[in-house]
């Protein structure tokens, strides 16, 4: 099929799609052409490369889109993956922020109870939940303090609600005792930490990622917690839903770790970029012990459905306080194993691998965006670099990271803190060089700072 080029060397997409449709080389090509027709309706695409390959019966072609000439790898959050290239495929966009996406994710996850205390930069979530939950038959409370707020959430969950709270670092300090109790009492609960610069009251309207170890070790005992970190607004939505699902799956509190910039900075998000994930229903038992030690978390019993006991003290499977070493040992091993023996269900990261790269960037949250920008800029210049965006900060995606470290000699960990996640990477990196890219002055790490690590 000879194809004539226009003067500028480009072809209109309509022409190409129509030709492909009229004379499909294969069913696959036909499908591709259908997709182009659908997807490219808002785009101008230069397709001659694609055409020539399609004509030669080659593999699915790479296409270039004016909107995304750097041909970044598909990440799924801002566009759809097609033949190795990200094409913004949507016809409508929102100019929105992470707080809005978190609230939307919570509502879509079936959250029907929220309690929180005002704190910058998390208050927007509180205010939106106060406004939205009554409309869907839920309940939102502004507690007298953070302690009351998380306490109300725990009580409400035990009475059948699906609960969420949101705060910032200083609030996590006050949540500490109840985080421990939610772990001990096996209470599903989503805790949003919109990080701000610390220590102490620090900088209220200043981004930071200083709570990454705090949420991990912020309550006594050192038991595992789950913490997810979105790095885009659309991911704020998806990972909020995921957090609810994991909290039900493992009967435990789950953190969603964001920061001031992700929560409040507005960005352009395609209306169909919000990826829903299934959120399981709470497993309930009509009778029997409220706890089961060993194996998965037990189905829950809720107040009102039967006689139900709950305690934050060391207890047996009937929730009767116990000091019997055999019972207490089994309880505490259970709190650890129910999560850690299923860590593969939780571990989440995105790798963008260049097979020739010997340098790997690792980041998470707001800083991961700058990292991915840096990777795109480096590749335009012909440099080789890979990157990992860590989404499940806890448990650490060790399997994925180990695989990402293969053939890598140098790892750069970018984060807005003095190097808190770096130590986790060092532990897995064995004898590789691990360098920290850190800012603790309230400013964001910029792509240029990542690029300084490349030769």
């Amino acid at each position: 099929m000879p194809v004539e080029r226009r003067e500028d060397g480009a072809l209109g997409w309509c022409e190409i799609a129509e030709r492909l449709l009229a004379e499909p080389a294969s069913e696959a090509t036909h499908r591709e052409a259908e997709r182009y027709r659908e997807i490219l309706s808002v785009e101008h695409v230069i397709l001659w490369q694609m055409l020539s390959q399609a004509n030669q019966g080659g593999p699915p072609p790479r296409i270039q889109v004016r909107r995304n000439p750097q041909a970044r790898s598909a990440r799924g959050s801002q566009g759809v993956a097609l033949s190795g290239t990200t094409i913004p495929a949507m016809t409508a966009y929102e100019f929105t922020d992470g707080a809005t996406a978190i609230v939307r994710g919570a509502l879509d996850a079936g959250c029907d109870f929220f309690a929180g205390y005002p704190i910058t930069p998390a208050s927007q979530i509180l205010m939106m939940m106060m406004a939205e939950l009554p409309k869907v038959g839920g309940i939102a409370m502004q507690g007298e303090d953070e302690i009351a707020s998380i306490g109300m959430c725990i009580g409400a969950t035990m009475a059948g609600a699906r609960s969420m709270t949101a705060t910032s670092g200083p609030g996590i300090s006050l949540y500490s005792e109840n985080i421990g109790m939610a772990i001990m009492g096996e209470v599903p609960l989503v805790i949003v930490d919109v990080q701000r610069l610390g220590p102490s009251t620090g900088g209220a309207t200043t981004a930071a990622q200083g709570d990454v170890q705090f949420v991990r070790w912020g309550t006594g005992g050192g038991y595992p917690i789950i913490a997810l970190a979105p790095s885009t607004i659309a991911e704020c939505y998806t990972l909020t839903m995921k957090a609810f699902d994991l909290s039900e799956r493992f009967r435990c509190p789950v953190f969603l770790l964001t920061d001031k910039e992700l929560n409040l900075t507005r960005n352009t998000v395609a209306t169909d970029a919000y990826v829903e994930v299934p959120v399981r229903e709470r497993e309930l038992t009509g009778e029997g012990a409220p706890y089961r030690f060993g194996g998965d978390a037990a189905p829950m019993e809720l107040y009102g459905a039967g006689v139900v006991r709950f305690t934050g003290s060391s207890h047996d499977e009937e929730a009767i306080i116990s000091k019997d070493p055999a019972v207490v040992g089994r309880l505490n091993r259970h709190l650890r194993d129910k999560i850690m023996s299923h860590r593969e269900e939780i571990e989440l990261m995105q790798i963008d691998r260049d097979p020739e790269a010997t340098t790997l960037f690792v980041s998470y949250g707001i800083t991961a965006g700058a990292m991915r920008d840096a990777v795109a800029m480096a590749r335009v210049k012909g440099a080789h670099v890979s990157s990992v965006t860590v989404q499940s900060l806890w448990p650490i995606p060790e399997t994925g990271l180990r695989s990402a470290f293969e053939s890598i000699g140098r790892i750069v960990v970018g984060e807005l803190n003095p190097g808190l996640y770096l130590r986790e990477i060092e532990r897995i990196a064995e004898d590789r060089e691990v360098l920290g890219l850190n800012r603790i002055d309230g400013e964001l790490i910029s792509p240029v700072q990542f690029l300084e690590f490349l030769p």
Binding site: T91, F113, M141, G151, T205, T268, G306, T311, S446
Partner: protein, 436 residues
């Protein structure tokens, strides 16, 4: 089916002579008088000797952290208003959980609180508590307590509790009073004094007679002290929420990129002005105009906690590509609207290579960039202070050929309440920039 006891088979663990067991017996009697379904009753307790109580009942129970029982109980009651929730706290809980006590009263939430008030911390070694009488000897007041006891009843009474009673574990009518509390819609508090025979009694040669006498001596009278009819919170919330049920859920505006832009590179735009100058909403209009022009936009705001004073700076990134990094190392286009804005933007001025747009006041600003003065007086009409940000921004972005005028008009046209003023601002900006 009649319930003949709410107790289980376990014997109480309390010290000989301790009053806690008799209060629990009174609770059992009160429950029997009401014949409440054990599954519809939650006993919420926390820490201290009184916190052991729930284990001796065959009802639902929640045993939580010290002083926090009212918070868990509030969550339970809000989620399931049909349940009876009885909260058991020691006098210690009224100290560490004082804020919760006050706010449960203010809300008048439908809980029945029994304070097992033995005037010291029995579980941890007899330390003084918020209710230890002045002068009493405890393990932490060896020379006599220098603090005055909390008047629990007056505190919750003046702050909105629906039912308030003070008595002792020796009161014969305690079960009836507990029933009264449980039957009162709203927050019921029973401050029940009893003896800690392990610590307070031996340290202070105290007994039943002195316990009863102490109430009069301290001016803390016994009896039903407050009884009022007021809306119970969980019910009030539901009826208030019912009125919002038909309100439309919040929805973010969908922007369709029906226009195009010739912008083929990422441009960092910074606008620096003062709080109250609508800097952020003007920046938002520019961003939305960009999205309507098939570009991507991000907006990062910087402002002090005191939102009505000081600077207001917005950074807007405009790009033909998705924006993964919403910040900027330095602006390509800087708009300075006020001296507060100038102070925040000052650090960028020297290194700037792009365009700086200023109002006439700052015409002499020193910068490596190209300065363009936009004079609000150069337009056909007067530009209101509240419209200055949008006017100057519009002039700047059109002057820089970042966006088409049509996109700006479409962006502000989407907000009918402000459209007229905003359209006028855009026209004024175009006139100022000489691009109309």
């Amino acid at each position: 089916m009649t319930v003949d006891t709410y107790r289980n088979d376990s014997a109480y663990p309390f010290c000989p002579g301790c009053g806690h067991g008799s209060i629990l017996d009174a609770l059992n009697e009160a429950l029997l008088m009401q014949q409440i379904n054990p599954a519809k009753l939650v006993i919420v307790s926390d820490i201290g000797c009184s916190g052991l109580s729930d284990q001796y009942f065959g009802t639902s129970a929640f045993h939580g952290l010290h002083g926090r029982s009212l918070t868990y109980a509030t969550g339970i009651k809000l989620a399931r208003p049909d349940l009876h929730v009885v909260v058991i706290m020691g006098d210690g809980g009224t100290g560490i959980g004082g804020a919760h006590l006050l706010n449960a009263a203010r809300r008048n939430i439908g809980l029945t609180l029994l304070v097992f008030n033995n005037m010291n911390y029995g579980m941890t070694g007899g330390q003084h508590s918020t209710t230890t009488p002045f002068g009493s000897i405890t393990s932490t007041t060896p020379g006599g307590n220098l603090e005055h006891p909390l008047d629990i009843c007056a505190t919750v009474g003046v702050n909105g509790a629906a039912y308030v009673y003070r008595g002792t574990n020796f009161d014969k009518d305690l079960p009836e009073r507990i029933v009264e509390g449980m039957q009162t819609p709203g927050f019921a508090v029973l401050d029940i004094w009893d003896l800690c025979t392990a610590y307070f009694v031996p340290n202070n040669t105290f007994g039943k007679r002195s316990l009863i006498a102490a109430q009069e001596e301290l001016g803390l009278p016994a009896g039903v002290l407050y009884q009022r009819e007021a809306d119970e919170y969980a019910a009030a919330y539901r009826s208030a929420a019912e009125r919002l049920r038909n309100d439309r859920p919040r929805k973010t505006r969908a922007l369709v990129p029906e226009l195009t832009s010739s912008l083929d590179r990422t441009v960092n735009l910074m606008v620096a002005g003062s709080a109250g100058g609508k800097v952020r909403s003007a920046a938002k209009m520019i961003a939305e105009a960009a999205i309507r022009s098939n570009l991507y936009a991000a907006q990062r705001d910087d402002y002090p906690i005191t939102v009505k004073t000081g600077h207001s700076v917005s950074q807007v990134v405009l790009s033909p590509h998705p924006i993964d990094f919403p910040g900027m190392d330095e602006p390509d286009v800087l708009v300075i609207l006020s001296s507060e804005g100038l102070r925040k933007a000052a650090r960028y001025l020297g290194g700037m290579k792009g365009s700086v747009f200023v109002v006439p006041e700052f015409a002499g600003v020193e910068t490596g960039g190209t300065v363009t003065v936009l004079d609000p007086k150069s337009g056909p009409g007067r530009v209101a202070k509240s419209e200055l940000a949008l006017a100057v921004l519009a002039g700047a972005v059109v002057h820089e050929r970042l966006l088409e005028v049509e996109a700006l008009r479409k962006a502000v046209g989407a907000y009918p309440a402000f459209a007229e003023k905003n359209l006028a601002a855009i026209e004024a900006g175009l006139a100022m920039a000489g691009v109309s």
